[in-house]
Amino acid sequence: MMSTLKRFAVLQLSGCAGCEVSLLNADAWVQEYRLVYMPLVVSAHTVPEVDLLLVSGGVRTDEDLYSLRRAVKCAEQVIAVGTCAISGGVANLGNRDEVRQLFLAHETRRHLPRLFPKSHPIDEFVTIDRYLPGCPPTPELFMALLTGDPEFKPAKTVCQDCGRKKVKDLRPAELLGFQQGRVLPDICLINQGYLCIGTSTRGGCGAPCTRAGHPCVGCRGPSDVFIAKDANAWLTSIKRIFATMTDIAPEIIDAELRSPQLALFVFQFADYDGVERPPRPPERIL
C-alpha cells in the first residue's frame, strides 16, 4: 500500500518556513504522497530518492548551495516554491550595495556556513521544472500543484479574485500608501487611494490580502501577460491603471512603486538585480 504513494521531499534553504507552514495546511497530499524529507517536521538529514522535490528559500550561504546541488540529483522533478526560491525574495533587499557593506562586520564568525555576497534564486544554479510563486503560495495552490487537479482554474489576476467593486465617481487625488486607517468594504482599494497592484499580479491566491482590506503587493509576480516582458512593461501598466482610475500625480506613483519594499515583489520575475536571464516560461508557472 505504502509503496504506491509518490515520495516527496521539501528542502528549505535560507527563508522563513512560511512556505512549509502553508504546505502543512494543504494536507490533502497525505492521501497521495509520502513525505520523506522535510526537516521542519520529519527527522531525516539527507534527501533520499524522490519523485518530487520542493525547494523553498534562496541561496544565501555555501551550505544552501551544497544542499541544493545534492538534493536535485535525487529528484525526478524539481519545483521552486515561493518568492525567495524564485527571485531571492525579501533577502534580496540585502543585495543593495549600501546594505551589503553592513554584512562585512560579521566575517569573523567561525565554524558557520559562509555567506555569499548576495542572495540568489535557485535557478541560477540548477534546472527547475516548475515554479510556484507566492509569499507564501496559499494551501490551495500547493494542493493544486501536488494533486495536479484539472478542476483548478486559477484567476488570471488578483483583481479577478478580489470581489471589490470599481466605481467611476470615486477618484482619489492623493495616495494613502499602505497603512492608513479604516478601509471601506466592497469598494476597490485603488478607488480609495491605496497602492494596490492586484490589477496585474498573477491570480490563483484567492486575493486574501485585498479581501481583508490590504493592498496587493504583488507577491505572486506578474500575470502571464507580463511574465515574458521586462519589469518596465509591468511598471508602465500599473502606472497606466492609476492614471485611468485616479487623479494622483504620476510621479508619486512612480516613486512609491520603486521603493525598496515594493520592488522586492514587483520585479520578482524580471531583472531587478541586474542579472541577465531569459524570462521563465509561463507554462511552467502555476
Binding site: Q12, G15, C16, A17, G18, V21, S22, L24, D27, V30, L35, P39, L40, V41, V42, S43, A44, H45, R60, T61, E63, G89, V90, A91, L93, G94, R96, E98, V99, L102, F103, H106, T108, R109, R110, H111, L112, P113, L115, S119, C135, P136, F178, Q179, Q180, G181, R182, V183, P185, P208, C209, R211, A212, G213, H214, V217, S259, P260, Q261, L262
Partner: protein
C-alpha cells in the same frame, strides 16, 4: 578533544548542536544557528509604514507576532493609541498564533519523541492507541484551527495584513465570528484528549529516562498581565530563580536589564538577565501568571502545579506548559468571538513623524520587541529583540547537563542524540527569528 555534532530537525530553521568532549569530560555544548538574512540591515531605507508588510517575512511561523510588534512600534513612534476594538482583534490574532504554534510544537515537533518515531506521520503506525485516536489527522486539525483564526482576524494566515498603524483594516462580521467560535468549540475537546494522551506519554518518557531534564533553576522572562496572560502588554517581568521576587520594566528600558552578546560560533546572539541565565517561552508564562483565567486551562494549571510545583523548572515541563496554553487559547478566543467585533471604530488617524518607537508582544516563544528609529520617514535603524535569543544560554546549559548524563570516559550513550533533540525542542527555538 572530540567534537560531537548533532544536526537538528523538527525545530523551526537551521541549527545544530556541537558538544566538545575530552577524556569523558564535557567541555562545552554550543547551540549554533547556521542561517542569517540580516533583517536589521536589509530594512534600512525602507519607508517606515511598510515595516508591517516586510517583517512578517522574518519568520513564517511567528509572522503574526512580528506583524503586531511592528505596528505597535510605529504607533509608539507616531504617538497614537489604537481603539479598543483594534486591540481586541489583535489579541485574537495572537491567540490564533498561540494555537497554531503550541499545536505544532506539541504534536508535530515533540510528540514523535514520546513515541520514538521520526515524524507525526509515523505516530499512528507506531502506537495502537494513537491509531485509534487518529492522532495524526486530529493534530493537523487542531493546528489548523489556529491558522483559520489568524486568517479571520488577519486576512492572511502566514503573513497577516489586517493590523495597520492606528488599528486594523476592519472588524469581523457577527456571522463569521460565530462560525469560528463554533469551530473552536468543536476543536477544544479534541485538543484536550490529545493533550491528555501527550501528558500520559510524557509521564512514561520521564519514567523511562529517570528524569524530566533536570537543570538548575533559572530566571523567567515574560510579558504578562498582573494576574492573567496578556499578549499585547507594555511591561516585561523577570521572576528570579527562587520564584520569590519579580523585576518589572517598561519595554524601552530593556537594555538596563537584559545584556545582549553576539556569538562567534552562531548567527544568533544570546541574552542574560544581568549576567544570569534566563528562560522565556511557555514555562516562563506559566510560572509568572497567577492564573490563566479560563476554566479548563485553570484546571490543567492546578494539576500541573500540584505535580511539579510553582515555579516549575524541569526542562520537559516547557512542553506540558505549551499544552495548557493551547487549551487556554482555544477557550479565550471563544470568549472574544462571543463579543461584538464588527464596530465602526477600528482605527484612529495619525500623522507620520520621525523619531523612535518600541513595540512589544508576548509571542509564543516569549517577549518580542521591535525598535525602530525613523528619519525622513524611512527606517534609519531597526532592532529585533527575539525571545529565542533569551533562551540560548539556558539551552546550552541544559545541553551540558544532558551531555554529562550520557557521556562517560568509557562511552557515549546513544540516548544522547535523542536527549539533545528533546532538550532543544522543549525550548521550541525559532532560528529564522533568532538570526533574522
Amino acid at each position: 578533544m572530540t567534537t560531537l555534532t548533532f544536526p537538528l530537525s523538527r525545530i523551526e530553521g537551521h541549527a545544530r548542536v556541537e558538544i566538545e568532549v575530552q577524556d569523558g569530560e564535557v567541555l562545552s555544548a554550543h547551540f549554533q544557528a547556521t542561517e542569517w538574512r540580516g533583517f536589521q540591515y536589509l530594512v534600512q531605507g525602507a519607508p517606515a509604514e511598510q515595516m508591517p508588510v516586510i517583517v512578517p517575512r522574518i519568520c513564517g511561523v511567528c509572522s503574526t507576532a512580528h506583524h503586531v510588534a511592528s505596528v505597535k512600534a510605529l504607533e509608539d513612534a507616531y504617538g497614537i493609541e489604537p481603539p479598543p476594538l483594534a486591540r481586541t482583534i489583535r489579541e485574537l490574532l495572537l491567540l490564533g498564533q498561540l494555537i497554531q504554534n503550541q499545536a505544532t510544537s506539541l504534536f508535530i515537533f515533540t510528540m514523535p519523541d514520546r513515541l520514538g518515531v521520526d515524524s507525526l506521520f509515523e505516530v499512528d503506525e507506531a502506537d495502537a492507541d494513537a491509531a485509534e485516536a487518529h492522532v495524526e489527522m486530529r493534530a493537523l486539525q487542531i493546528r489548523q484551527a489556529g491558522t483559520h483564526l489568524i486568517r479571520l482576524a488577519g486576512g492572511q494566515f502566514i503573513h497577516p495584513v489586517k493590523a495597520t498603524v492606528g488599528g486594523v483594516t476592519g472588524g469581523i462580521p457577527a456571522q463569521e465570528a460565530e462560525k469560528m467560535r463554533e469551530s473552536l468549540a468543536q476543536v477544544l475537546p479534541s485538543a484536550r484528549e490529545l493533550f491528555d494522551y501527550y501528558w500520559e506519554k510524557s509521564l512514561a518518557l520521564g519514567e523511562r529516562l529517570g528524569t524530566w531534564g533536570d537543570d538548575a533553576p533559572a530566571c523567567y522572562i515574560a510579558s504578562v498581565g498582573s494576574e492573567c496572560p496578556n499578549f499585547c502588554g507594555e511591561q516585561l517581568h523577570v521572576l528570579n530563580a527562587e520564584g520569590s521576587y519579580c523585576t518589572s520594566f517598561a519595554t524601552q528600558n530593556f537594555r538596563d536589564y537584559l545584556i545582549h552578546q553576539e556569538s562567534e560560533t552562531s548567527y544568533a546572539g544570546q541574552t542574560s538577565f544581568q549576567g544570569e541565565v534566563l528562560r522565556a517561552n511557555s514555562l516562563a508564562r506559566i510560572n509568572l501568571v497567577e492564573r490563566l483565567g479560563t476554566p479548563v486551562a485553570d484546571a490543567y494549571l492546578a494539576r500541573f502545579r500540584e505535580a511539579f510545583g510553582n515555579p516549575a523548572h524541569a526542562i520537559l515541563l516547557f512542553d506540558l506548559a505549551r499544552g495548557i496554553e493551547l487549551v487556554y487559547a482555544l477557550e479565550r478566543a471563544q470568549e472574544i468571538l462571543a463579543q461584538p467585533l464588527d464596530g465602526e471604530e477600528v482605527a484612529v488617524s495619525y500623522t507620520r513623524r520621525d523619531g523612535e518607537g518600541y513595540g512589544l508582544v508576548e509571542a509564543p516563544r516569549g517577549p518580542l520587541i521591535h525598535h525602530y528609529r525613523i528619519e525622513d520617514g524611512r527606517i534609519a535603524e531597526a532592532e529585533f529583540i527575539i525571545p529565542t535569543v533569551h533562551n540560548i544560554l539556558a539551552i546550552e546549559r541544559a545541553l551540558r547537563v544532558a551531555a554529562r548524563r550520557y557521556i562517560t570516559a568509557e562511552r557515549v550513550d546513544m540516548e544522547l542524540e535523542r536527549a539533545v533533540g528533546r532538550v532543544v525542542r522543549a525550548f521550541d527555538p525559532c532560528i529564522a527569528c533568532a538570526t533574522h
